[in-house]
């Protein structure tokens, strides 16, 4: 299992959890970003994600290294789904193993902020009214 992956297949938490587990870790944090049924109150039918996959995986791995250096976490893995996602499906999955929980909580919040800033992945909202829109682009 690749620690940093952009994939069209359904994300699964358990293999990622196994990747970051370690006998010296007292804390495991899993974060899932999930396709929800609205954005700013407007009804969403489904989502579509597009990536620059080679660069996105590089950027995810770089963020993982930075998080280890900055927060002192043990292991980290990040998978991002692309393609069409139905409501309730997981778009991004972050797993962190850490000796202590404080570092893991700080790292996961930072990682999600960074992913939304620098990783070349784009979300298209397919609204319930049939129209569509790339988020953040007009």
């Amino acid at each position: 299992m690749q620690a940093f992956l952009v994939t069209e297949t359904v994300l699964q938490a358990e293999p990622l959890r196994a990747l970051v587990a370690d006998a010296g870790h007292g804390a495991i944090v899993l974060f899932e970003g999930v396709a929800r049924n609205n954005f700013g109150g407007r009804a969403t039918a489904f989502l579509e994600y597009e990536a620059y996959p080679e660069m996105a995986e590089q950027q995810l791995a770089l963020l993982g290294q930075q998080a280890q250096a900055q927060f002192g976490i043990g292991k980290v893995a990040i998978h991002h789904r692309i393609g069409v996602l139905q409501i309730g499906e997981t778009a991004v999955l972050i797993a962190i193993g850490s000796a202590h929980r404080g570092a893991a909580f700080a790292a996961v919040a930072w990682l999600m902020d960074q992913i939304k800033l620098v990783v070349p992945i784009w979300k298209c909202e397919h609204w319930a009214d049939g129209s569509q829109e790339w988020v953040g682009q007009r």
């Binding site: 970003g33 994600y49 597009e50 990536a51 620059y52 080679e54 660069m55 996105a56 590089q58 991002h80 778009a91 991004v92 999600m112 992913i115 939304k116 800033l117 620098v118 990783v119 070349p120 992945i121 784009w122 979300k123 298209c124 790339w134 988020v135 953040g136 682009q137």
Partner: protein, 79 residues
């Protein structure tokens, strides 16, 4: 020299293609490419972009080498 440009999301849709090969003079910069694209496609939304050469973020001033892959990166919205 020839480089490849890659387009994503709204930019890909506006252009109706995901990549393009372009013939450029030596020492052309990212800025040079943007000017050329603006001439070729006057309606293309080229504001608010970030740039990457061979998968590394660069600035407008970065110079291109033969066979480089230049990506025009609209505001990302992953996660």
């Amino acid at each position: 020299m020839i480089i490849t440009i890659r387009f994503f999301a709204g930019l890909r849709e506006a252009l109706n293609q995901s990549s393009l090969s372009l013939e450029l003079a030596e020492n052309a910069t990212v800025g040079t490419v943007l000017q050329r694209l603006a001439e070729l496609y006057p309606n293309l939304p080229l504001t608010g972009l970030a740039y990457a050469i061979n998968r590394q973020y660069v600035t407008l001033e970065a110079t291109l080498k033969p066979n480089d892959e230049l990506a025009l990166i609209p505001p990302v919205s992953g996660g």
